[in-house]
Structures are given as structure tokens and as C-alpha cells.
Symmetry: C2
Subunit: 293 residues, 2 copies
């Protein structure tokens, strides 16, 4: 009798990157699968990228490629600011960006405000390489609504990093001018804000919209980019608004231990392929519809 | 009676990017599905990236993102070479790289050698925006084995572009030193070769191996990178071997009409994140196993 072929169990997690595109990753384990007050939280162990956290079905962070994102969120602003002492991280409850911020010896205090306590506790429990510095003495971690918190802040931070989820639901306001106005007021005179602004391929409107909104508030606005393999299209943009200094020049050396960021990467990452520049300039030439403002 | 909800037909193509990772794209049509003498050829119409060609299950080219790849394959070598007149393209039967090569007025003749005639005819029929220049008077398109062809060439080409499939089966030899020796002999004194060398995330060994093999043949070898959304991880590398000139400097202006490439992108794309540099230098420090050579 022919023996039945032995087959392994197939366990996969699938992200809908758009209605027409899905990324699937084989997993060996579901480590956490809960619904918090704000979102579904899923932590799995993948074969390709190590442990991974998803929020409402969207991949947020993986152990293997998070350095690409965390480093580019933190170091471009912190290395172009002359003396970044007081830092605010909006979102980022996994702790990856905080870990990078605390590599800078200048930083006296990094305040992290994530609306969802359960994201923070999930990261602490299941993503130790990412969340390691959440208990650092220089870290002030708060679980509250950053949009409300920031309205009370005046002339307080050197760099504000907006490490938000996609602009839907409670995160949508983080990509709009009224929030950037609050951010500007919360920043010191040399201050800078940096935000993740999605992919020019899959989220063109978000990228262009955030750039436009930030440019309506800050005198200097620059977009830079890098690779994040597990984010849609792999090409990810970040937008910096600055009160004063040009953020495209690295003024201070890269901290030790970076794997994606370097001073040279800093100076290269503002070089945009022409199709991205075209996306950013096209809206400036076009008449603005009233309802968009 | 509750009416049955109307559902659309779900038609998807799925690429196995690794045993643990899959990219799925919704398609509206299968335009071609044949097996040539060399490989399976599939052309589909996707919602996300326009028309797309797959060979043996691997995504080769899509209408919407091919400019990222085609431009970076062609223009970096052609803009750093002082006077590129005679070009050889190995593979590239879809015609995308050829189209970019022919943007350069210096180019007198571009010879394209793809082993698979059916890839060329599929591209001509279904991918007109990519294959448009395959019938150009300056193009010499041949369907034969480039590895055999090139052994007969001496001091003949200014730039050779190796636009191969992944290094499996008949394409494996295109990533090895004996082929690069033939390439060197086929190049003129100022000559350069450029090859696509996969992703540092998903094909580390291929990237490092090709770099090492090329460095054993050419005095100047440099690796650069760009984004290709539909390739695994989105981060794609290219390796240039040069007999003489440093390819990391753009010496001639970008041709008109590029969307990814520019002179500034040229000068930025050789800036590697430290983790990529580490991958390339680690093998130089490590003892080489005998069987690898």
C-alpha cells in the first residue's frame, strides 16, 4: 500500500496591502491575538522575518527588518538637529524608534505617548529586541491620546517623531495641518518634526497630502525615503518639517550600532527619484479644491 | 427571502518569493500561459501593477514599476562611461532595458541576446510600452545562448548589461567568474559590465557571490541599489565591474524622460546602508571554502 505522503501544517498570515495585493508570510506560531480598546493586535512568529506585530491586519514591525524603519525615523532628525535634548515620540508603542532615539547621548528625555497600552505590553512581552528600552530611565512612556496631550505643550521639544499607524480611524488626524500646528507650538525654536508618510506607489495621496499639510505649517519641509521590506512596495517615505535648520545635512555623527543609517545615507536619502519629485510638485501647480482644506 | 449577496470572481496570481513568503496580485485576465523550450511564460493583467510577465513563477516585469528596474540597469553604466557606443544586453527579452539604452544618443548599436524567442514575442504582443524599441534600427535582437555568443567576442562592447533571471538553471552561469572573464574579453578598454544581483534580504548569497566573482575578474567593482516594488523585499542591487573608470560618478547627463534615474540618483545610489556593506566585506575577511571556487 502506498503510504500517504506526510504533509506539514500550513499556517500563514496574510496582509491585504491593497484590494488587489496581498503579502503572505508563513508562521509557526500565534503568540498573541487580542482586541484592545483601539485595535486588533496580533503577534506571530514568521519564518521569513522573525516575530512580527500586526495591528488591524496591517504589518507594523518585524524583528528582522525593523531597523530599516526605526533608524530612519529617529536618526535623520536627531543627527541634523544641533542639540536634540527633549524628544517626543507620538505612537511607536513597540519601542523601536525609542530605542534608536536613546542611542543619542544628547537626549536627556524621550517622552513616548501611545494611545494603546496593550501595544506596549505586547511589545514588552513578545518583542524584547525592539522594546528593550521602554524601561530606560531616560524614557517617559505614557498611554494617552497624543493629540490631546500635545495641545498642552509649548516650546518644549527639540524633535517630535510621529510614528503613527496608517491614517485611518484615530490616526487620521496625525496627518493634518491642525495637528502640525500643535506640533509647531510644542517645538522649541530649532525644532523639527518627522513623520512616516507611507509609499509613493501604494499611498500616493497620503504622502502628498502629509507633505502639503506640513508645508502649510513649517517653513522648511523635506521628504526623504528608505526601504522597509515588509511595508507595501518596500519604498517608504518620511517627511520632516523644520522651524529653521535644513534637515538634509547630517550635522552630528551617526550613533554607534546602526545598520541602515549612516551619515552618508543621511545625505543620500533626500535624493528623490524624479517620479517622486513630480508627485510632490504637481499639487503645487494644480488649483486646490476647497473641500480639501 | 434574503437575496444571495453578489460576489465577484476572485482570480489571483501568487509568487512564491521564498518558501515562507508569497506575494499575491489580483488579476482580471490571463493573456498568455505557455511553456517554451526554456521556461513557463505567463502574462496577466493585474489590478495593482498593470500587465505583468512571470517566468517559471517569478515576477519579471510589470508595466507600472518596470521603470525602476529598467532605468537603473541601463543608465548608471551608460552615464558613467565616457562614450558608450556599442552595447550588449544579455537576456532582457522584454525590451525594457533596451528601450532605456536607446535613449542615449551615443549608442550606435545595442545587441540584445535572449535565449528564449517566446519571451520576446510575448513582450512584443502583450507589453507594448516595454517592448516598443525591440524593432528599432539601432537594435540587433538575437535569440541564442548569450554565454556561447560572448566567447566569440573580443574588444567589442563599451557596456555589457546582464539582465538575467534568477541564478537557477540556464541562468546560473551568468553569475560566475568564467562568464565574467568572457565579458571582460568582450569589452573594450574603458568597458563596464552591470548585472542585476538580487536582494540583500532574500538573496544575500547571490548578491555577495556575484560581487565576489566579479571582483575576481575586474579591477573596479561597485554595488549600487534601488527600489523595485514587485521584487522580493523591494530592495534591489546591481553590481558594476569596470576595467578602468569609477562607475559611481555620473559623467554624462541623464537622458530625457527618466522617472527613476537622474544624475543625483546616480551619485546617491552607491551609498549603501551599513548592513549591506557588512555583507560585502564579511566574505573578504573570512577564509574561503575550497568547494566554492
Amino acid at each position: 500500500m502506498k503510504p500517504r505522503q506526510r504533509r506539514t501544517n500550513e499556517l500563514w498570515v496574510m496582509e491585504e496591502q491593497s484590494p488587489d495585493m496581498r503579502l503572505s508570510l508563513r508562521i509557526s506560531d500565534v503568540l498573541l491575538n487580542v482586541t484592545s480598546r483601539y485595535q486588533d493586535i496580533l503577534v506571530v512568529r514568521t519564518g521569513e522575518y522573525g516575530r512580527m506585530m500586526l495591528l488591524d491586519g496591517a504589518i507594523q514591525i518585524t524583528e528582522r527588518d525593523e531597523f530599516c524603519y526605526s533608524e530612519m525615523m529617529a536618526h535623520v532628525a536627531l543627527c541634523s538637529h544641533p542639540d536634540p535634548k527633549q524628544i517626543l515620540i507620538v505612537g511607536g508603542g513597540d519601542g523601536g524608534v525609542l530605542r534608536e532615539v536613546l542611542r543619542h547621548q544628547n537626549v536627556a528625555k524621550a517622552t513616548l505617548i501611545d494611545i494603546d497600552e496593550e501595544v506596549i505590553s505586547a511589545a514588552k512581552r513578545f518583542l524584547p529586541s525592539i522594546s528593550a528600552r521602554l524601561d530606560d530611565p531616560r524614557a517617559d512612556v505614557r498611554c494617552e491620546d497624543a493629540m490631546a496631550y500635545i495641545t498642552e505643550c509649548h516650546d518644549q521639544f527639540d524633535v517630535i517623531i510621529v510614528d503613527s499607524t496608517d491614517p485611518v480611524d484615530f490616526a487620521a488626524g496625525l496627518f493634518k495641518a491642525p495637528f502640525y500646528e500643535d506640533v509647531r507650538r510644542a517645538l522649541r525654536p530649532n525644532g523639527m518634526v518627522v513623520a512616516q508618510t507611507e509609499s509613493p506607489f501604494t499611498d500616493t495621496d497620503v504622502m502628498v497630502g502629509a507633505y502639503r499639510e506640513m508645508a502649510s505649517v513649517f517653513p522648511v519641509v523635506r521628504l526623504y525615503w528608505g526601504v522597509v521590506p515588509t511595508y507595501p512596495s518596500g519604498m517608504w517615505t518620511y517627511t520632516i518639517g523644520s522651524k529653521d535648520q535644513d534637515p538634509s545635512l547630517a550635522r552630528r555623527p551617526a550613533p554607534e550600532g546602526t545598520r541602515y543609517y549612516s551619515g552618508d545615507v543621511h545625505n543620500a536619502c533626500f535624493t528623490l527619484p524624479p517620479f517622486v519629485t513630480d508627485l510632490l510638485t504637481r499639487w503645487q501647480d494644480a488649483p486646490q479644491p476647497e473641500e480639501e482644506r
